[in-house]
């Protein structure tokens, strides 16, 4: 909503405040002023001139030599290129030395030998937006539509001395979509009175009801319809005050009748519509729901197809207006219009919103009806418009209006006690203070024993419960005056749950390991995901995606991590290790009907060197075992119990020989491995390693149960063995055999060497393990250890063909 400060002052006496002060007060009490625009930023020396003579320039077809009376003894000569300049016009003259919008300076000039002392201006040259300039003046200079005094300052008549307040209204404050609403708001803040216009009309003896009948079929959608008939109007240009008021409010002037309806819409917040009675098509107004597929050509010359949820004004047969949204083209008021049907109606928000949405048609009218207009201003606005039309366009207002009326105009009664106010706000207000606030708001009320019963004026549709009154009191009392306290309720212990703590631990661990945390979008494409899974059907898709790129909820975190690696690589970062923790969305349904399962995953992606110390010549690229080390470390950090296994695994998108499935107690919880070279190529990545874990299942069922274990009093004995086995034998198999046969004394087994090559038979490899034996109760003897160790060696040979390497 754009509020002309000059216009606002017609309703309230606020001369002692500047626009800036009023704006600040409005903002601080809940109606935010987003911007303050002074209309004139730099124009100086602009006066009204009267063109007393206008002749063609002898040397140039397109130029005119004008003698312009600027209030001095002699007229000044101005060369003007506008086609529409002519004798007798009152025009805006920028005199020599003037500045115009944009900093342009006017100098004495000679144009093809003729002196020009100033410039006759177009509205655009004065800083008016092209789309707001009336059509008549959009191609040339501006003419004042009325007699003026030559030489007088032109800024004020053009409204350029005005300041516009741009309101950023919250959806509840639709009352401020009108000048009167804003006036009431400012009046409440400043404690001044509001002057409401009191339209006076002289009605003729003819009755409107003889010319038009009103029938409302859809009375729920349209509880009030008033039709005023005005005969014999003369369509023309509006006076300057009306045009400047509209332009300041962002509305382009059209003609006196249409301008009046727009003016009253802005003033009362009540949309009106004027039909040409002679092209209306009948003597009957019938308001009904549209039939399915019914068509109407609206004022903007578009054909609209309607449905049964839309409300139309018809002439008994055909729709002539889309109720509350836009009029129809056939009965539009034009220069030839003589007789008018002026509509003032209350349309229910529902059908208006529906039509506006369905047809993508938002108008100043629909915006107001959608939020609910003031039932007590509907008829008053009709009267106000009729009176202004008569004043500006002449004509007779027939006795009327013809009405259909089932409108409830009763104010809403809301009660509140003083205690409730104080208990909600933490204040200690007195009865008198609250009374003063209701008075300022002009809310009629009764007070009885600190209980206030308020008749909330219908202009404030947003107030219906006691909390709404509390807010009115609070904002006028001033939020700044509310004290600052802490809750005087019992204290509560705050903290994180085990899961939340584990999520933090996971982050700390991965960051400590050298990874950066990434956060990427949850919405992705099915194609990207298809690299890692075949099952693309059961995905959660948004119904109307903004782009294919963001159409599907992710089921894996990897594609966006790979996008990030690729993004970094293209910016010369080649050694990048990222992890992300976030939700993935799985559904079993082909067409989603219930909330999908959301699981927290943690995934990583690595490219380039894991470790580099260049001057010492150390370069360690990321490999499978770097990633596995991180995963192992994380599992230990999260205190995962259960049997952890890494199983050789083939998975879409990953290297078939370098991928492991992670199982805990036989249950899949994730995977790790190298990205398949062809997948890496899709992302233009070098050798890349990834892991993806279902963090949720890693966090399940582990309780903190850490207990101290006594440090052994007796020394342990270490035995190292190097075993020659077939290349296909897995380290894990050997380790399991060792553990299974080491008995109680064996406390630790670790791989410490892998060797393949010279001195070994083809197809063989050597794996070295370090075994630690310990007896917690006594010092071990060589004999005891050897006995167990021999058993281990024997089992290795029998079960895995492992020979001790000499």
């Amino acid at each position: 909503m754009l509020v002309s400060y000059k216009w606002l002052k017609e309703y309230i006496d606020i001369d002692e405040y500047s626009a800036k002060e009023v704006a600040e007060k409005l903002t601080r009490s809940g109606v935010e002023v987003d911007a303050i625009h002074p209309l004139n930023k730099e124009i100086t020396n602009l006066v009204v001139g009267k063109v007393v003579e206008c002749v063609k320039h002898p040397e140039a077809d397109k130029l005119n030599i004008c003698q312009v009376d600027v209030g001095e003894i002699k007229p000044v000569q101005i060369v003007c290129g506008a086609k529409n300049v002519g004798e007798g016009q009152y025009v805006a003259v920028a005199r020599v030395g003037a500045r115009l919008s944009g900093g342009m300076k006017i100098k004495r000039a000679k144009l093809r030998g003729e002196v020009s002392e100033g410039m006759i201006c177009s509205l655009q040259e004065l800083g008016f937006e092209g789309k707001l300039v009336p059509k008549k003046y959009s191609e040339g200079i501006f003419n004042f539509p009325q007699e003026m005094l030559a030489g007088e300052d032109a800024l004020s008549p053009l409204g350029l001395d005005d300041t516009i307040l741009e309101l950023d209204l919250t959806p509840n404050r639709s009352d401020c979509l009108s000048m009167l609403g804003v006036a009431y708001e400012v009046a409440a803040i400043l404690g001044v009175d509001v002057k409401v216009p009191e339209p006076a009309i002289v009605a003729s003896k003819e009755k409107a009801s003889d010319f038009v009948k009103v029938h409302v079929e859809a009375s729920g959608d349209n509880p009030y319809y008033g039709a005023t008939v005005i005969k014999g109007v003369k369509i023309g240009e509006s006076p300057l005050w009306l045009q400047t008021a509209l332009i300041a409010s962002g509305v382009r002037p059209i003609n006196n009748v249409v301008d009046v309806t727009n003016y009253v819409l802005l003033e009362y917040g009540q949309p009106l519509h004027a039909f040409d009675l002679d092209t209306f098509g009948s003597k009957e107004v019938l308001v009904r729901r549209a039939t399915e597929g019914e068509k109407i050509v609206t004022l903007d010359e578009s054909e609209r197809t309607l449905s049964g949820e839309h409300l139309v004004i018809t002439n008994g047969e055909d729709p002539v207006a889309l109720a509350g949204v836009m009029g129809g083209a056939t009965s539009e008021v034009n220069d030839d219009t003589v007789n008018l049907l002026l509509e003032a109606a209350y349309f229910d928000p529902g059908p208006v919103r529906k039509a506006s949405r369905d047809l993508g048609l938002r108008s100043d009218s629909s915006v107001r009806f959608e939020k609910g207009v003031d039932p007590n201003r509907v008829a008053a606005a009709g009267l106000r418009a009729a009176s202004l039309i008569q004043q500006l366009a002449g004509g007779e207002i027939l006795e009327g209006p013809v009405e259909f009326d089932q409108l409830n105009r009763e104010p809403r009664e809301v009660s509140i006690t003083l205690d409730k106010v104080n208990n909600t706000l933490g204040t200690q207000l007195e009865v008198e203070q609250i009374e003063r606030i209701f008075d300022q708001l002009q809310f009629p009320f009764k007070e009885n024993n600190a209980l206030f019963t308020v008749d909330v004026p219908t202009r404030r549709q947003d107030i219906s419960i006691e909390a709404d009154l509390v807010e009115e009191i609070a904002r006028l009392y001033g939020y700044d005056h509310i004290p600052t306290t802490l809750p005087n309720t019992p204290t509560t212990p705050g903290g994180l749950t085990t899961t939340q703590l584990k999520k933090r631990k996971t982050r700390r661990f991965l960051e400590g390991a050298g990874m950066h945390e990434a956060i990427s979008y949850s919405l992705t494409t099915a194609e990207k995901e298809a690299h890692f899974t075949e099952n693309v059907q059961s995905r959660v898709k948004v119904a109307l995606p903004m782009s294919e790129e963001r159409s599907t909820l992710r089921t894996t975190l990897l594609p966006h991590l790979l996008d990030a690696l690729s993004y970094n690589k293209n910016r010369n970062s080649y050694h990048v290790h990222l992890y992300e923790m976030g939700s993935v969305f799985h559904t079993e349904e082909n067409q989603v009907t219930v909330q999908p399962e959301e699981k927290t995953y943690v995934s990583g992606a690595f490219m380039g060197l894991w470790h580099e110390h260049s001057w010492q010549g150390e370069k360690k690229p990321v490999d499978f075992y770097v990633v596995k080390g991180i995963v192992e470390g994380l599992l230990s950090e999260l205190d995962v119990n259960g049997e952890i296994r890494y199983v050789q695994y083939e998975k879409a998108g990953l290297h078939p020989g370098r991928t492991a499935l992670l199982e805990i107690d036989g249950k899949e919880v994730g995977f790790l491995g190298q990205l398949h070279p062809s997948t890496a190529k899709e992302w233009s990545l070098p050798a890349t390693y990834v892991f993806e874990l279902n963090l949720q299942s890693l966090m399940e069922g582990t309780e903190e149960n850490l207990r101290y274990e006594a440090i052994p009093k007796y020394p342990a004995m270490d035995r190292d063995i190097a075993l020659v086995v077939d290349e296909s034998v897995k380290a894990e198999d050997l380790q399991r055999i060792i553990l299974n046969h080491g008995g109680k004394l064996l406390t630790r087994v670790a791989v410490f060497d892998l060797y393949q090559g010279e001195n070994l038979a083809p197809g063989k490899k050597s794996l070295a393990f370090s075994l630690r034996y310990l007896d917690r109760d006594k010092t071990l003897t060589e004999e005891e250890v050897s006995a167990v160790h021999e058993k281990v060696l024997l089992a290795l040979e029998e079960n895995a063909g492992a020979i001790l390497r000499s």
Binding site: Y479, E511, A513
Partner: protein, 344 residues
Amino acid sequence: MLDRLQELHDEAMKKVADASDLNDLKVVRIAYLGKKGPITEVMKGMGKLSAEERPKVGQKANEVRESVTSYIEEKEKAFEEAALLEKLKKESIDVTLPGRPVSKGGRHPLTSVVETIEDVFIGMGFNVAEGPEVETDYYNFESLNLPKHHPARDMQDTFFVTSDLLLRTQTSPVQTRTMEKHEGQGPVKIICPGKVYRRDEDDATHSHQFMQIEGLVVDEGIRMSDLKGIFATFVKKYFGEERNIRLRPSFFPFTEPSAELDISCAMCHGKGCRTCKHTGWIEVLGAGMVHPNVLEMGGFDPEKYSGFAFGMGVERFAMLKYGIDDIRHFYTNDTRFLSQFTRV
């Protein structure tokens, strides 16, 4: 004999003094103090001496031995020290060469902001609650006093999955979910961080995905002044002791009265500058007293209980705190951006 011993002593001492390395000393030691050395020889002749002279010669011989031995040891030590010094000198390295880097990653700045805010509120007795990102219309809108066709739904352009399922547009649905779990019994003191989604074109100030932190306090006797108090504490802890707060009336469907919370601008200390659009204040969050309808839908009796709720944008906090000018930086995961926050 005594003269001979003195002669030997002087000879030996001279040789020790002339020795240039450990080997020379070894030669002197063997030559003079060895079993076949001249001192031993002299001692062997002691049998021929009178009982009176014998102890004198014996004593002299011992004195000579000791004197020579101690001089040799002294010299040995000196040579060893010199040798060690020489060795250490050779081991000298260039300490200006760069050290071995310890690899360290870092938290995303949005996570840092969330965790810091969580910790401040945990310190004030709050718990952290979470909820699903794919929500039902009921939790995201209806239970928050936004029935279907409510004009305020326009404020939030929504990604719908079906007519009833949507990507949550705010973390507020966690309010209702948490209240339901409390089954009408206070106190409820939670904050809920999480991702939210709106149909916005991504640009410098808009993102179709962003993060919010929602907060809710419900108990008997909670007042709007308490909201001010909690925020004054929070703002001072998070943004610094010198920051002030102010509340401005606003509108949210799920609170009444509603407020925007501003903090004094850090750049100009409230005097007015470009950052704060010359107002001296920066808008940081929306808040208000929980609307009675919302309490009721969450299973709390609005006659008995009251509460306040608030919501803040994590990106906005991070942008204010670190001076980041484009919201898209948070989602490109450029390591040149991320690595600037490893110290946080």
